[in-house]
């Protein structure tokens, strides 16, 4: 599936329920990162790693290749008033 849309970017400076959800998911998926974050020295040296941007994409067009058959032309879905997709 390919989603095309218009993006805007903002600094994620506030800790929100969404950022908590993303953080929890990230440490569950990458368990070794817990040791890194729990250690004050890496937190101090790698602060930049935790200064994240939120990219918000307003979908405009969705192309779908059923069953990953890329030799076939995609089904196109136009999105007039779509929900917003967040990528962090």
């Amino acid at each position: 599936m390919l989603i095309q849309g218009d993006a805007r970017v903002a600094e994620s400076r506030e800790w929100t329920p969404r950022s908590e959800e993303h953080f929890k998911l990230s440490v569950l998926r990458q368990p070794d990162s817990r040791t890194f974050i729990a250690n004050p020295l890496p937190r101090r040296l790698f602060t930049f790693y935790f200064q994240r941007l939120t990219m918000t994409v307003q979908p405009r067009r969705i192309l779908v290749w059923p069953h990953r058959r890329f030799v076939d032309p995609p089904t196109e879905v136009l999105v007039p008033g779509p929900p917003i997709v967040h990528v962090e």
Partner: protein, 158 residues
């Protein structure tokens, strides 16, 4: 400019994602298998879908892989131009880029390579400082909620 070192790294990936800008101005991507030609310094495509047959112009090729714990990460991007050569498309690279800033290897920083980790730290700090300086801002990070989440996860495991 061609990089033989990073071309060798690129051959270790099973596939890549080719992206171009479509006529409407939106990025358009497809997964593909590539062959890197050191002699001609171009990249050819093994199995581009019909969708890509009309693609020309500025493009990037992204390579990425990791293990099932999201460790042992490798990442490499090649930027260039897609052109028609004979009956086939090929990418003529202009830049080889790695997320770790290295010009010779594509492995992301990890604890097993402390020198590389330090280089990554210096690169990240320098770029973050530049970002903040341009915007005349500070960006303190409050780690309290992150540490709380780690404690909760630890206690929920018993």
């Amino acid at each position: 400019m061609w990089s033989s070192n990073l071309a060798t790294c690129a051959r270790a990936y099973p596939d890549a994602v080719l992206s171009v800008v479509d006529p409407d101005g939106y990025p358009c991507s497809t997964r593909c298998t590539v062959a890197l030609d050191d002699r001609r310094e171009v990249i050819t495509f093994i199995n581009l879908p019909p969708l890509a047959s009309s693609w020309r112009g500025p493009a990037c090729l992204l390579f990425h892989r990791h293990d099932d714990r999201l460790e042992n990460q490798y990442q490499l991007m090649i930027r260039g131009h897609v052109v028609l050569q004979g009956d086939s498309l090929e990418l003529r690279p202009t830049h080889f880029l790695t997320a770790n800033g290295s010009l010779t290897e594509d492995r992301m920083p990890h604890a097993g390579a402390p020198l590389q980790l330090i280089q990554f730290m210096l690169l990240g700090r320098r770029q973050a400082a530049r970002y903040l300086r341009r915007r005349n801002m500070t960006w303190p990070v409050d780690f309290t909620p992150m540490l709380r989440v780690l404690r909760e996860l630890r206690s929920s495991r018993g």
